[in-house]
Symmetry: C2
Subunit: 215 residues, 2 copies
DNA sequence: ATTTCTGGTTTACGAGTGTACACATCGACC
DNA sequence: GGTCGATGTGTACACTCGTAAACCAGAAAT
């Protein structure tokens, strides 16, 4: 509690970043079992503590706010990918390092992850498309990273993307299930982490046997 | 157009199965880029052609309708699983047979599939949980089916489920992307089918190398 | 032939929603 | 010191929403 209430009926909003407050508020609300198109403008502005129309000062409409959410969610995720990358390189057991990093970051940004997973398929056009585009980007980065591993050095990028997409899909699915159990239930979480590791391991076992050229 | 308009302002609704009409109407509406909790009761009843309150004659509320949707969607899917099963057994190339069957049925029941994929993660508690429960059931059936294949005969069920979950997850993801391109764009569709086949093939390549006991 | 059940109708109400418009306050800039 | 743009506020309007209540037609059962 620093300085509050500067004017009269003025909700202070820390002077400057109401936009950020809106984005955070949206994540907060969406975290509570709501889908984006079930989120109303008024509800959001109420949560943030501003008048209904003030939202227009920052976004032309809800859809644009949705896109900003996607942007924000993936800004975090890209950073994660970076860190995961170095973690993997410096480890003798890349798979469990990967999963461990992932888990840490999923827990740290639960609402962002939640948003990505929920709106990836559900939802309304623009947002969904944006998410997919970004996810495909993540996939590409993963593909690049995969290219450094022994067996895959010579693989065509098509095959690399195939593997990357498989990995990303299963990780997203598992991450969502982890988030769905509350931060409680450590047992279920550990179980899911183990599942993730095993799936990745299975995939990597298939790699040496893959014939990169084609069928 | 058989006999219509029996009474006065009476929307006939084929006399008898308005309940089914509601379910179908819901699928229809949800197919058009809407999430379930963005679907209003009035909108639905309007679509079906009955008064707003008439919905209560068939469901206590929206949530129960949601559960009915899940039920209906998976009724179809279970049947699919059956057919896919026999298709696979009678084929020399189980993977491409699998994907082909899947594609056929996905196209035939596009709205049901759409619903499952969208509401699996997004959405509001009860519906989502129901979907997951059913999906886990499908996974189990797949696991059973997997147990018939050479290398996996002796695998513990935990490992079978691990593989099944990996397969189900990636197939759902790919199916959704196929549905998202309209029925047009045959090229993209073929590309995705190929991706599905390749991912499954990679997984199966890993299987002989897997050590069922543990790490 | 009358009753009762089922599935529908109409009307109504209060709450919530998106958007438009007019006004206030602050910080920055000349 | 005055102007101005950015960011708020408030009121207002026309909708839509969920739910309640009372009524109504046809089918089935007695």
């Amino acid at each position: 509690m620093s300085e509050r209430r500067t004017g009269r009926g003025r909700r202070p909003s820390v002077r400057g970043d109401t936009r950020k407050a809106l984005i955070d508020g949206a994540f907060r609300l969406l975290d509570g079992n709501k889908s984006f198109d079930g989120l109303s403008q008024r509800e959001l502005t109420r949560e943030v503590g501003i008048g209904p129309t003030a939202l227009y000062r920052h976004f032309p409409g809800m859809q644009e706010l949705g896109l900003a959410l996607v942007d924000e969610a993936f800004r975090g995720l890209r950073q994660i990918v970076q860190e995961v990358r170095t973690d993997i390189r410096s480890s003798k057991r890349p798979i469990s390092a990967f999963v461990k990093s992932l888990l840490k970051h999923v827990r740290g940004h639960r609402d962002r992850f939640r948003f990505i997973a929920s709106e990836r398929f559900g939802g309304s056009g623009a947002v969904r498309d944006a998410i997919r585009r970004e996810l495909r980007l993540v996939q590409s980065e993963l593909a690049i990273e995969l290219a450094r591993f022994p067996y895959m050095k010579e693989w065509p990028s098509e095959d690399l993307h195939m593997v990357a997409s498989l990995m990303v899909n299963s990780m997203v699915a598992i991450a969502e299930e982890i988030l769905d159990r509350g931060t409680a239930d450590k047992a279920a979480e550990a179980e899911l982490v183990r599942l993730a590791e095993r799936q990745l391991r299975l995939i990597t076992l298939g790699i040496p046997a893959w014939k990169p050229a084609g069928d």
